[in-house]
Amino acid sequence: MSENISNFVTGLNTFFIGVVVVFSMLVLLILMIVILGKVMQALTKKPEAPAVAVKEEVQVAKEEVAAVVEEKKQDDLELVAVITAVIAASMGTTSDKLQVRSLRKVERKSL
């Protein structure tokens, strides 16, 4: 019985070491996860700041594109008139009997 008690007393040592080490390891892992989360947040946030600038740029670009498109429309109208006239002439009719529905640019690939 006295041996049991002495074992128990030395066991208390193990008890405290065990509990302290388990908890400190887990606290360390908590710190690791928190730091990892923070780092990840910082990394994913960085591209967000330029994102606003990019948006503005996009808006500017959009306006430019809109202007270009309008110019293009005018160009197209002239082109339509010319093409209609040419086709009418070659088919021997008048241009009011022909209708150009769409114009598409043919992407020529070198063969």
């Binding site: 049991n4 074992n7 193990t14 008890f15 070491i17 908890f23 892992l29 989360g37």
Partner: protein
């Protein structure tokens, strides 16, 4: 002629297992009955059949006298008179040499989602609190007269983690493997029976009804870095826990990496199942009547149960501390899931919570402490191993 025939028959009958039992070895009969009862629990009552059926059948086989399934080989291989050993003699090496439990951990890792833990790292504390049972049972076993290394192995039952208990016991007290493994797996299977009364006794209705806020989304990168970082940190600080924690994290990395989904699939299905069959059978086979039916076994089973109850208590009490510390935002029931037993313990937390409030879903919140418990008990095993190994 007739007398020769009769004597041959009586010789044959004398060598049968039945003769051994009738000759006074009633222990075998008791163990056969226990094995059949466990098979009944597993198949008819659905108590962890995937674990309990192999264990109970191993128990049944080894307690049919003179089966020789565990016999060691006789003589030297390739020499005259060599007789190979029994099947379980060879299979048991996977358990005795500490091969099967870490492989099981690869499978467990491949099935585990550490997302809830990463989203709510505080739950690691609950996973640690539930390991208190290990150290209390260790002290209790010392008082009952077990040697320190045996007491350490008995205490680990409180971790409610079968593979960890087997891994530690084969290294510290191989003689006690039978009762410890059986106790650990039985209590894992009995989680839904043992835990709810303790959980209800320690919490108020108001506490059990706490609904927890939704967990944040965890990015894939975090989930990939987590297993690698845990392996490095834990193994550098506590090398003796490295094998178990490392294999657990390896399995998890296979799952999270994405490009290794085939390996993760094998680890969590094929590998896990094959190892469980072999480990279950040989664990059951450690319960041969002549070594199993001793007063010591009874002491181990009682201490194991105590350890498990204290572990649950520790988890719930720390859950209560966190309930007050966070301004009633944490449901203390999830603390009970800190004993490993993945995922039964988390399911129990969910069930008990839902009994109070049918629209309460605690499962994901309980998975955090639950998987933390696996890490916690592996760390506890590592500490005991480094002190008594």
């Amino acid at each position: 002629m007739m007398s020769e025939f009769l004597s041959a028959i009586s010789d044959f009958a004398g060598q049968s297992g039945l003769a051994t039992i009738l000759g006074g070895e009633y222990g075998y009969l008791i163990m056969i009955a226990v094995a059949c009862f466990l098979l009944y629990l597993a198949i008819a009552k659905g108590f962890e059949p995937l674990l309990l059926v192999p264990i109970a059948f191993g128990m049944l086989l080894v307690n049919l006298p003179d089966i020789g399934i565990k016999d060691a080989p006789i003589g030297i291989y390739h020499e005259d008179g060599f007789q190979p050993g029994g099947l379980f003699y060879y299979l048991a090496m996977g358990k005795d040499f500490g091969i099967f439990p870490p492989l099981i951990f690869v499978g467990v890792g491949a099935m585990t989602d550490f997302g809830p833990l990463i989203a709510n790292p505080k739950s690691l504390i609950l996973g640690g609190a539930a390991q208190l049972g290990i150290f209390f049972a260790f002290l209790g076993a010392l008082l009952l007269g077990f040697a320190p290394n045996e007491a350490a192995s008995i205490g680990i039952i409180g971790g409610a983690d079968g593979p960890t208990a087997i891994y530690l016991t084969t290294k510290l007290a191989p003689d006690l493997l039978g009762p410890i493994a059986v106790a650990a797996y039985s209590y894992m299977a009995l989680v839904p029976v043992i835990q709810p009364p303790i959980m209800r006794a320690l919490t108020t209705k108001e506490q059990r009804m706490v609904k927890m806020s939704q967990l944040r989304q965890v990015s894939r990168t975090e989930k990939i870095i987590f297993p690698i970082a845990v392996t490095i940190i834990v193994t550098l600080l506590l090398p003796s826990a490295g094998t178990l924690v490392g294999m657990l994290m390896f399995g998890n990395l296979l799952k999270e990496a994405g490009s290794t989904s085939r390996l993760a699939d094998v680890a969590s299905n094929g590998l896990m199942s094959s190892i469980t069959i072999m480990l279950g059978l040989v664990v059951g086979a450690t319960t041969k009547a002549d070594t199993f039916l001793t007063p010591q076994t009874l002491g181990i089973i009682v201490l194991g149960l105590t350890a498990f109850c204290i572990g649950t208590t520790g988890g719930v009490l720390f859950g209560k501390i966190m309930y007050y510390a966070t301004g009633k935002k944490i449901n203390p029931l999830i603390g009970s899931a800190g004993v490993s037993a993945v995922p039964m313990a988390a399911r129990v937390a969910q069930k008990v919570g839902q009994q109070e409030c049918p629209t309460n879903f605690l499962l994901m919140h309980a998975m955090g402490p639950n998987v933390a418990g696996v890490i916690g008990s592996a760390i506890a095993a590592g500490i005991l191993l480094s002190i008594y190994g």
